[in-house]
């Protein structure tokens, strides 16, 4: 009926509705094609095909068998790309790169110096010409000008071209091993030295050994800060995403104060909700640590400082990126590192798969609004002298002033 009404409006010279009818028309599929589509989605979600799906359908049996066979192929090519491939591809492509359009700037015709045809030149009164040498004056003037230029260069250099001053405590951007956006940890802070963690000689990243945790409760018990889990879904503008939690892993510091410098890694699958279904965008990793300096390497990508609510941090985008578990992210990778109090949260995703800056910012915004910390191990700060003491886990005591409602 609705469709008929729209077609009726065609008679009134409105062509738009009929076009939208065709646009919105769902794809008609045969039963076999629809079954195949459902089977593909099911296998992608890691659910094997059941007997009803396989019965009397040899193609479906083959699909199920080959999907398992192809598992080996899916794990191939995840190592580094061949050397020079990127450079060679870019160089070949650049031979076909059109020349950038040059903007034509119209230059106003100049009149001859000191002469204009429109202005009558008056005869001048004869001047007294000083015949004494002006060389010493010229030398003095040149030296003064030189000094002035040097001063101007020094002043602009120190005020405009010095690295921007960071207001971050735990996040640092480095280039060639030198901080260009330095973290400012407390003056008495000593970086943890954990034998199980290795420092890369070629990059500023510290690689930690993560051990999968059987469940969220166990993971929470192993760290001294509330683990923040990502929200299950995020809406950014008109786009909705689903974040499916996979697992948690802990990198415990085996040095003195073992629990104190533990680091958490959370794994998620990001999916884009199309309206008719979901499209997998790829895996996302989240790293959380307390009182640990988190570093990003500016040499491998572009970065900028960001503020999301009361969280400050750095957004980095480039390739490749080695995360703190030692995993290399190839392709365009996006990293959002933010800090809140003394906890840093780093979210890593593949930009080439559709993980965007806006999406990461949306996730952090939502986390700020509704903290998703697990209540398994209650955590509080020691408020003895009003300052938090790191590494102290205390059970939350019921507030005696609060009425208990049942």
């Amino acid at each position: 009926m609705d469709s008929l009404r729209r077609i009726y409006s065609l008679g009134k010279g409105n062509l738009r509705p009929i076009r939208s009818i065709f646009k919105q028309r769902p794809t008609r599929m045969s039963k076999a094609e629809a079954r195949l589509e459902a089977a593909l989605n099911q296998l992608r979600d890691g659910v094997p095909l059941n007997w009803t799906q396989l019965e009397d359908d040899p193609e479906m049996v083959t699909l199920a068998r080959l999907h398992a066979v192809a598992q080996e192929a899916r794990s191939q090519g995840l190592e580094a790309l061949p050397p020079n491939l990127q450079r060679n591809a870019t160089e070949r492509m650049s031979t076909r790169l059109p020349r950038p359009k040059q903007q034509i700037v119209k230059v106003a015709p100049k009149s001859l110096a000191g002469f204009s045809e429109n202005v009558p030149v008056l005869t001048q009164v004869e001047e007294n010409i000083n015949l004494q040498s002006r060389v010493p004056q010229w030398i003095g003037a040149t030296l003064a000008a030189g000094l002035l230029v040097t001063f101007v260069f020094w002043w602009t250099g120190s005020n405009f071209f010095s690295p921007p001053k960071s207001d971050l405590t735990w996040i640092e951007v480095q280039q060639g091993g030198k901080p260009i956006y330095a973290a400012n940890p407390p003056h008495d802070y000593k970086a943890p030295r954990c034998p199980a963690w290795t420092t890369m000689s070629t990059s500023p990243y510290i690689i930690r050994n993560y051990v999968p945790s059987p469940d969220k409760n166990k993971a929470q018990g192993d760290v001294d800060f509330p683990i923040e889990y990502l929200p299950e879904s995020v809406i950014v503008g008109n786009t909705a995403y689903t974040l499916t939690y996979l697992d948690t892993a802990i990198a415990a510091c085996e040095g003195p104060g073992a629990v104190r410098y533990s680091n958490v890694m959370l794994a998620y699958i990001a999916k884009w909700n199309t309206g008719s279904g979901q499209v997998k965008l790829g895996t996302m990793s989240v790293f959380e640590g307390r009182r640990q300096v988190m570093t990003v390497d500016a040499a491998q990508g572009k970065w900028k400082s960001v503020t999301i609510g009361d969280h400050k941090g750095v957004l980095w985008q480039g390739a490749p990126y080695k995360d703190t578990s030692g995993f290399d992210w190839f392709g365009d990778t996006i990293v959002l590192a933010i800090e809140h109090d003394d906890i840093t949260t780093t979210v890593v995703g593949q930009a080439s798969n559709g993980i965007t800056e806006e999406m990461l910012a949306g996730i952090i915004k939502q986390m700020t609004k509704a903290p998703t910390a697990q209540p398994a191990s209650q955590y509080t700060k020691d408020l003895k002298d009003g300052t938090p003491i790191p590494g102290i886990l205390l059970p939350i005591r019921p507030d005696p002033n609060k009425a208990v409602t049942k």
């Binding site: 794809t27 008609r28 599929m29 076999a32 094609e33 629809a34 195949l36 589509e37 593909l40 989605n41 296998l43 992608r44 193609e59 083959t62 699909l63 068998r65 080959l66 066979v69 192809a70 080996e72 192929a73 899916r74 191939q76 090519g77 995840l78 790309l81 061949p82 491939l85 990127q86 060679n88 591809a89 870019t90 070949r92 492509m93 650049s94 076909r96 790169l97 059109p98 020349r99 950038p100 359009k101 786009t239 884009w272 199309t274 279904g277 979901q278 499209v279 997998k280 965008l281 480039g318 390739a319 392709g331 365009d332 930009a351 080439s352 798969n353 559709g354 993980i355 965007t356 999406m359």
Partner: protein, 176 residues
């Protein structure tokens, strides 16, 4: 609009205006995905050939970059590049390496060979579904056809594999 698509379109436009940074960014974003797809189709023994096909794919993309942003039917650049990579594999008649002592139980090698012997679009459909694990709508976008047509090509590919296996079994029983 699919996430990342807006950026892909703007990068393609920037390349059309001769901006080198946009070109670097496109290669950075998609080189890994295209190389992996080609390598998975040809097998790990064909690393060098996979690198050549990947380079050819990007060169071909450069020539067709103006045609990439096409109104509402524009697909993410990654899928468009996978489509071009499939065409390059077919154009170069690139095949998995011939192994001297073939292991009859190596089903993956047999699958790769079967894909190489198929019609271009059917081979691409099954490779995208199995090697890349793309969802049906992305398979359709990467093939440049409707979802219905993509599923039809995939079913045809599966039928071909079944038929080839049945023939092989028949030969084996006659020989035996």
């Amino acid at each position: 609009m699919q996430p990342g698509l807006e950026l892909d379109i703007s990068l393609a436009k920037d390349i059309g205006e001769g901006k080198r940074e946009a070109l670097d960014r496109v290669v950075n974003r998609h080189l890994g995905a295209v190389y992996r797809y080609v390598l998975r189709r040809l097998g790990p023994e064909q690393e060098s050939l996979a690198a050549d096909v990947t380079q050819d794919t990007f060169y071909m993309a450069m020539r067709q970059m103006k045609r990439y942003p096409r109104g509402t039917r524009t697909v993410p650049m990654r899928l468009w590049l996978l489509r071009l990579a499939g065409k390059q594999i077919a154009r170069r008649k690139a095949k998995p390496a011939v192994v001297e002592f073939e292991d009859p139980d190596d089903e993956l090698a047999s699958l790769r060979e079967a894909i190489a012997g198929m019609h271009e679009i059917e081979g691409a459909a099954i490779a995208l579904a199995l090697f890349e694990e793309l969802p049906p709508e992305e398979i359709a976008d990467a093939l440049g056809v409707s979802r219905r047509a993509a599923m039809r090509h995939l079913r045809n590919a599966l039928q071909r594999i079944n038929k080839a296996q049945a023939e092989e079994l028949e030969d084996w029983s006659i020989d035996g």
